[in-house]
Each structure stands twice: as structure tokens, then as C-alpha cells.
Symmetry: C2
Subunit: 408 residues, 2 copies
Amino acid sequence: MPVNTLTETTPLTLNEGNATSPKGFRGAGIHCGVKREKADLALLVSEVPASAAGVFTTNKVKAAPVRYTQRAIAGGRAQAIVVNSGNANACTGDAGLADAAEMADVASKALGLDADLVLVASTGVIGVPLPMDAIRSGIPRAARELSSDGTAAAAAILTTDNFPKTAATRLEIDGVEVTIGGMAKGAGMIHPNLATTLCFLTTDASVPPAVLRGALKRAVSESFNAITVDGDTSTNDTVLLLANGRAGGPSITNGEALRRFTEGLTRIASELARMVVRDGEGATKLIEIAVEGAASDLEARQAAMTVASSLLVKTALHGGDPNWGRILAALGRSGVEMNEATTDVSFGELLVVRGGLGVSGVSGAAAAVLEEKEISVRVGLGVGDGHARVWTSDLSEEYVRINGSYTT
Amino acid sequence: MPVNTLTETTPLTLNEGNATSPKGFRGAGIHCGVKREKADLALLVSEVPASAAGVFTTNKVKAAPVRYTQRAIAGGRAQAIVVNSGNANACTGDAGLADAAEMADVASKALGLDADLVLVASTGVIGVPLPMDAIRSGIPRAARELSSDGTAAAAAILTTDNFPKTAATRLEIDGVEVTIGGMAKGAGMIHPNLATTLCFLTTDASVPPAVLRGALKRAVSESFNAITVDGDTSTNDTVLLLANGRAGGPSITNGEALRRFTEGLTRIASELARMVVRDGEGATKLIEIAVEGAASDLEARQAAMTVASSLLVKTALHGGDPNWGRILAALGRSGVEMNEATTDVSFGELLVVRGGLGVSGVSGAAAAVLEEKEISVRVGLGVGDGHARVWTSDLSEEYVRINGSYTT
């Protein structure tokens, strides 16, 4: 489990941890036979029914588990999540939807819960029926292995990820210690998988469903919706959050308590999202694109995302090439209000473009900045007060090799 | 000069040719010293003032020659185009604009024309002042080398292109033989260049400026605006069209004459645009994405362009991987009306997806289709009558190598 490296100055106590760090959550991860060898089935269970919120892919082609879970979570209550990796159960028609429902049903029986308290997620190959025999026999076995150690669950949701992605934080809200934890999987896309992001967040705070939805929406906007690896949106992307109230504090509904809870949630989601980018296929660098001085925050986000998605920018940063013209060109086509004569660009603290013109004599220093593994590109548009920050990876030959290989 | 391969059944007589094939046009291409060795300065001149129309980059960061030529062409008349390669004269501020104006001025004196009849274009490194000494001495030398052979001009506008791009066609309009020709340069982006598309079209037809603008807009919509190599839009993209009337026919203003002229123009522009894709950096395949059954032509275009721009699709096609799930996922996020249950996908004539589900037993045959150098992907959305066709290239490791290398 990676050390959590958040070091901001706000009074959050950060710790190593994962989705079972909050009180009253248990997890399990096993190999059931969807994949050949690696763990492929995870359970995450709360000891009591929890408030639940979810954010799902905007792709019109939605995998069966996404459609199933969108309905199951509508009431705002859930107690367990069952996840398989190795098969996305996407583009599988009505049979796929029946399989997703059966996954929930089998899990509910194994756990002794109502079926409508079980949420489902899948990731992996698309267009292939789920191997239900493996899933049916696997779920009861996973239920018997539930424990307070969330590491096996975090491993079982991975596909081509190079490392598990977990984080947790403790914070005091209304005098009570509350824990927020989570696990994620990233953009693993070896044929014939799609890039799927899954993230499962947990907390022992007590938060009503409607409030929880708002907090999750805000946290995802600043984290999983602020990253791009290759611009594709999967059929299976899912972020789920369970809040079981076992910390014992009063219900969080508004004011300073909600502000602190949302801040903590956002930081955990951001940390997991950045891990996903860092582990992007073929990625060698984590790149932050920060835009300020835009006409609005929305325009700043749009400008930052256009730069972050530009193949020319991503290949230049991969090659350590301080090619600021590509950044200006991406800003120029982003559709936002901008004027090259008021645009500044910095690599880290080094100003390379002032008022649309290259600063002379800095290309050597700029190339040195771009040798780093974590790069910050800062853009000032000089037309307003809008600002935004997004994260992306570089684009390497390795990305093409991974995604072009025919491996069926 | 590549053999023109248009073979449609309409009664156009196609021939090898280029921008000097129409009557009354001469061209020249020389090395003046912007680049180290290769030709870098081109002239294209009509013996009489011509109707002129242009289409320019929509990027808000526009190179100086784009801004200069947009103003110069506003009156709809021009007689000469001067082009340098090796330096884009972009992000060069007021000095760059003065340099573009001086290029036109020097050319007008060398050619004995009014300066406002000269258009300017540039492509190459950005953020670096034009070497005006080389340009000043080069233009009169190029003027002395003008001839009816357009091949030197076609070579002098290239940057990292692997081959010159020229085409021409003859057609009878109102009983008069009219010729349309052109030359283009493609998406050469070795550091620190940007992907710039330049295209110069000529015709000896007589067409008033307002009509010419409409025909060019239509032709570009079906050609240069229907291709994508990497989704970036350059600061310098320019398509110019001169019509000098030397064929001697009546003025083309409407009806069947205009329809035939626009059709011929569109076919030459399409041929040049496909050459640009075929010569995309690292491209090994020319891929046509045809969408039908969309809610509108506009939605069909949007769906086709989303598929054509998807890195996951482009890498899969590079690797010969019949991964139709990536195509469905791209359609699903394209924002158009679609429903996976009514969506079909074919590779060439081979149906691989019927009603959103994979056709079984065809993956071997599909992989064989994808071995070809020219691939057609056909999508039926089944929701309306809209259709569109766009072209793209595959995405190879070579693309990343070319664009990530630091070569200053």
C-alpha cells in the first residue's frame, strides 16, 4: 500500500489506509476464475446499512453493472459492494443485465442482506458473457474471508494496474474522529479491455443520502473529473461512496461540519485520482496543468483539459521538450476567451512565455524542469479570475505498444 | 508527383497535375536559407488578377501570415501567393506581422504587382523571428525561376512530409474545358513545429469571389475539415483558392455549372486531404470512418470524428486489433443520439457488431481486414438518416518518437 503523501497545511491527520479503515467496514479479495491467476473478485461490506451515493460514466454505452447499480442506489441506501475484474459485462445485452442482478443476489444471500442493499461493479474485457459459474462459487468464498484488512479487496479490483491505489484520512468533525478511506483502479487498457476507472470510498461519518450525493459530486469534480489519460470515457466508470455512521458523531448536514467532510473526501478522491494518472499506461510523468486568469472557472477547466489532452503537448512533455508553442496552440483552440498577448506560461516556477512571446535564454533551464517525474505547467490567461487545476500523464511509445497489441 | 487515383464514375477526366495545371498559373520553389538545405520558399502566380477565397485556422492563436492574409483577401482579389517553410512566423508579435507584410511587399515588387494582390503563408518553427535577410534575397530569385512546372513549388512548401501532395482534374463546364489543380503540405510536427496544413488551389474557371467562397467552404468541409491526424489545430492552417478565368468560359455563378465546379473542387481537395492523412507522422494506414443512420448529418460527423480521434481506436487499428468495444465506447461518449441495441459496426464489408452485440466467429476474418493499408470502418446508428465520412490515420509508436524528440 503506498504511503499517503498529502502534505497540505489544513489540520487533517493523514495516515496509510484504505477502504476498510473507517469503522465498521470489512473487505475481501480472492481469485474465483474470471482471470487466469490473479485476484478477480472483491467484496466491501458495512456492518450496518449505510447512506450511499454514486457517480457513473456519462457514456451512452453503459455496462450492465452500471445500469444495475444506478437503479439499486437510487434509494440512497446500501450495505455491500461486489466487484469483479477481468470481465466488464459490457455490450452483453439483456443477459448481461441478468448476470449483474444475479451477482447482487448471490452476494446478498452469502452476506445475509437484502439484495437491494448490494451494489455491483465490473471491469475488464467487453462483449464477452460473465463466467457466472466462477462468480457464483466465488462470492460465498469471498464472504467467508471478510476481514478488517482492505488490501486484498484493493488488489482484486485491478486489471493492468502496476500498483494498488488506496488512501485514507482521519479528521475531527464536531469533536468526533471521523475516517474516510478508499480504493481505486486505473486506466488499464490492454486488449480488449477499456480504460475503466473504479473507485470505492467509505466513511464512518453519519451523512444523509442527499447530502452525501452533493459531497461526492463535488469531490469527483475536483478529482476523477479533473484527470485525463487518453480522453476516452469507459462504459464502466463508477465511483461509489458508503457512509455508515459508526464513528458515532452527529449527522453531518451543513455548515463547517459539511465543509470539513467534503474537503476530506475531496482530498482522498484527488489522491486516488492522481495515483490513477501516475499509473496510466505507459505513463512516466504526472503532469499538473494549472490555469488562472480565465474568464470563469469553467473556462479555466476547459482550457486546462484541452492542454492536458493534446497529443502534441503530451508527447513533448514525454520527450522533455519545452515546446511552449504547442501549449499556446492548444489554448487557442480550446474555445475559451484568450488573447496570446496576455498569456503567460511557466514550467514549474520558470516563466517561459510572457505576453505570448517566448522568454529568451531559458530553454536549457526549461528542459531541465521537464526532466522531473512530476511537472507543473502553469498558464495565466490574463482575462479574468477563473482558475482550475487538472492532472494528466505524458504519452509514451509504451502507451501505443500496450494499446496496439492484439492479444486475444 | 503521385499518380492521381480518383476513379469515381462521374465524367471528370483526371490527370496528373498540380497547382500550375490550370491555364495562366506559374510556380517556383527554391532554397533561400530558412532551412539548412531543403527548398523553403515557393511562389504561385497568376498572369492576371484572380478571384480569391480562403479558409483559415479557427485557432485563436493565429500566426502573423494568417492575420495578414485574412485582411489581404477580404476584397476577393489576388494574383500571387508567397510561402515559406521552416519558420511559421507564429507567436512573434508585432514584429512578425511587419515581417509578413514585408514578404508581400518584396514579392509584389519582384513580380511587378500591387502589394495588396499578394497573399502570404508560412509553416515551421514557432516563436522564432523569420530570417528576413534570406527571405528578402530569396523572393526576387524565386520570381526569376517562375515556370509552368509546379513541382518545385509543391516541394518548397513541405516540412517533414515524406512526399509532395499534388492533384489536378479537368472537367467540361458549359462546353468549356476547365482545370482545377492544387498542392498541399501535411501534418509534419517534428519539434518544434506544429502540425500545419497548407493547401493552395487554383483554377482557370471564371468564378466571382462570393461564389468562390461558397464553393471553397463546401469543398473544405468535405475534405480538410473531415480529416484528423492528432486532433490539434495549428496556428497556421490555411487553404487558399485563386480562380483566374483563363479557360475562357462564362462566369460560373449558379445551377449545374456551379454544382459541377464545386464537385470537382471537392474531389481535388479531398484527394489532397487524404494524402495529408496518409503522410501523417508515423501513420501506416489510411482509415475511413463512415457513419450512417445518425439523427442528422451533423451528428453523423460528430460521431465519426469522435471515433476517428479516439486514441484507443487508433492504436487498436494500428495493431490490427478488431476491438469493436472501443468503437462503441467512442460512439457512446460522442454526444450524439445513439442506442447500443440499434448500432451495427463493419470492418470493410465484414459485419462485426449487430445490434450492439459482437457477431460470433468473425474475429479472425476481422483481424485479416485490419491488416490492409486502407481500412474502412462503417457504423450504422439506426436512429435516422444522417451520414458522414471522415479520414484518419492509425497511431503508432513512431508518432510518439517523432513528436517527443527534443531537437533544438
